[in-house]
């Protein structure tokens, strides 16, 4: 019925007119996400093209899965895959529980002002750039002038060139990321702990539960859903190690274990100007991440936990 359709349009326009300022406000933000997030998402099609800068994305010819076939045929690729995956897994195993532990301990501190001071201190490294931390590490571990090696020498040991030794790279990365970010990551668990129903604690005390028991039977179950959500999000980043940390600790001598997808994509895609191949590497890691995210979310639901949606 045309008349009612017209009425619908008129209602819509009237609504738009009434809310025009709100919609006007939304224009820059939505445009921002379209340009800076969705255009690059469309840009991943160059992974399926023989991309040429002069021809642009639309003008470059499609080549299907050629780039992927090439990638899977490279022995480099498997090395990078293993480096990224194992490093990320180590971070997950050691780095994920640490902030939870910190939050549980911080919460049990009775001296509130001391608690606040220590919190302030342990959040600090989060605000310092990886370049600065890399600079400190590289120099403190230097075989010629590093504090640690000077100390080793004085104790009568041989100096160790830690950053050139492939055996030290992974522990160094894991430890430094725990040092830098676990304090900060404990915030979210502290917030979750503070929203645990205090009556549960009282009831547990009346039942004669000590602090450890309360921690185990009240606090931990109370923050379980937060832990699960953060774990799912973390699993979505299973192929990511972050560019900056790895890049500043990387050198030709540890490249064998330190080359991860982020630095590899930079090396082949930007430095080597092989855009299609670089985009292929990037798309591969994004898809693996998305698959892990969806799968872990599904598993969480199946275990009757809250997922991320």
């Amino acid at each position: 019925m045309p008349s009612s359709r017209w009425a619908g349009w008129k209602d819509g326009l009237r609504y738009l007119n009434r809310k025009k300022y709100l919609y006007l406000m939304l224009i820059p933000g939505v445009a921002y996400f379209l340009v800076f997030n969705y255009i690059p998402m469309y840009g991943v099609v160059i992974a399926f093209k023989n991309f040429n800068f002069a021809k642009g994305i639309l003008g470059s010819p499609w080549i299907g899965f050629e780039n992927f076939k090439y990638m899977f045929g490279l022995s480099d690729f498997y090395q990078v895959f293993w480096n990224s995956f194992s490093l990320s897994l180590l971070r997950l195993a050691f780095g994920f529980p640490f902030p939870i532990l910190l939050a549980l301990l911080l919460n049990e501190m009775r001296n509130r002002s001391y608690q606040r001071i220590t919190q302030t201190v342990i959040y600090l490294p989060h605000f310092i750039s990886w370049v600065v931390i890399g600079g400190i590490l590289v120099n403190f571990l230097s075989p010629s002038w590093g504090v640690l090696n000077l100390f080793l020498k004085q104790m009568g040991f041989e100096p160790v060139f830690f950053l050139a030794d492939t055996a030290y790279f992974r522990p160094l990365v894991v430890l430094s990321s725990i040092w830098k970010d676990s304090g900060w990551e404990s915030i979210i668990y502290l917030a979750a702990i503070s929203s645990v129903n205090s009556e549960l604690y009282e009831a547990a005390s009346i039942d004669g539960a000590g602090r450890l028991k309360r921690l185990w039977h009240v606090t931990l179950p109370g923050i379980k859903s937060t832990i699960v959500i953060l774990l799912i999000l973390r699993l979505g980043m299973i192929m990511n190690n972050g560019f900056e940390q790895i890049f500043v600790l990387q050198n030709p001598m540890n490249l064998e274990v330190s080359e991860v997808f982020e630095t590899y994509a930079y090396r082949v895609g930007i430095l080597g100007a092989r855009f299609s191949f670089g985009a292929t590497v990037g798309l591969f890691t994004s898809v693996i991440g998305l698959v892990f995210l969806l799968a872990s979310n599904r598993i969480a639901k199946w275990l009757k936990e809250d997922g991320i949606w």
Partner: protein
């Protein structure tokens, strides 16, 4: 007061030890860097673990003050920090406010559009190509615009604004104010703690800009501080050769590197004790599910 059991005391001892050790571990590297930057090198070689030098030597800082590239780096970093924060906060406010209106039509579609960007992105090369196509390559805008608005912080801001009681707004609307007026006269003053938190977050992000500068700039004159820091402190970017020949006597590469680290981190280290009170409270409103 109840008499505390032995186990209880042991537990306390454990907590305080672990937390104190971790806090000290977080602080000591910075103390040492600051100390090494003013310690005479011979003294450092003698006892590298000594925290307080017998006399202070500021030669390295004098030398930094004469390095023109440090000042260009500072200038670039200050520009991208100030401009970046202004754009970020403005965009965040005008986008978060309409999205906090639960009855606004189309809101859910836009929220989905925004949330999706947290889980999938184009990656390095498509972003690089975008920056090239927009002619931002080798401009400071390339260090400001990509990343000027992030989904996660935007959603936190939306939740914060959504938690502000509606009555204040409504009385302003009855007085004939439009949404722009309400946003800047009523919502913004009430959101100060959240805004302060995001100013801090974005300022730190911008100050630490490194990755985007590596990809989006090739001219040394556009380098922000962190790129110069990497060149001089992590790599040996000609420090030994060019800056030490004919430099101040007694200043070694190591001391100079320590001083450069302090010099480029100082603003964060100085402001940090004052800003931490904001993110301790301001942000956590509505930040977690449930």
């Amino acid at each position: 007061m109840k008499i505390r059991s032995f186990g209880d005391r042991l537990f306390d001892a454990f907590i305080y030890t672990v937390i104190t050790l971790f806090a000290l571990a977080c602080l000591f590297p910075f103390f040492y860097v600051a100390s090494f930057s003013v310690t005479p090198y011979a003294e450092y070689l003698q006892n590298p673990l000594k925290l307080i030098p017998s006399r202070l030597e500021f030669g390295a800082y004098k030398q930094i003050a004469e390095m023109s590239q440090m000042w260009t780096g500072y200038r670039n970093t200050v520009i991208i920090t100030v401009t970046g924060v202004a754009i970020n906060i403005f965009l965040m406010l005008i986008t978060a406010y309409p999205l906090s209106k639960k009855d606004l039509k189309g809101r859910n579609a836009i929220l989905f559009l925004i949330t999706f960007t947290m889980f999938f992105n184009g990656g390095l090369i498509p972003n690089f190509y975008l920056v090239k196509s927009l002619h931002l390559y080798n401009t400071l805008w390339a260090l400001i615009l990509p990343g000027a608005l992030g989904a996660y912080n935007l959603l936190l801001m939306k939740n914060f604004i959504g938690a502000i009681p509606k009555d204040l707004e409504e009385s302003a609307f009855i007085d004939g104010a439009n949404e722009f007026k309400v946003l800047f006269r009523i919502i913004v003053p009430l959101s100060k703690p959240a805004i302060a938190t995001f100013v801090i977050f974005h300022a730190v992000t911008q100050w630490n800009t490194f990755f985007s500068a590596i990809i989006y700039t090739s001219k040394r004159t556009l380098w922000p501080l962190m790129l110069i820091l990497r060149d001089l402190v992590v790599d040996d970017g000609g420090l030994a050769a060019s800056d030490l020949n004919g430099g101040q006597e007694g200043v070694t590469v190591f001391t100079l590197k320590m001083a450069i680290i302090i010099f480029s981190t100082l603003p964060i280290l100085l402001v940090y004790p004052f800003m931490q009170k904001y993110f301790m409270k301001g942000l956590l409103v509505g930040s977690i599910k449930g």
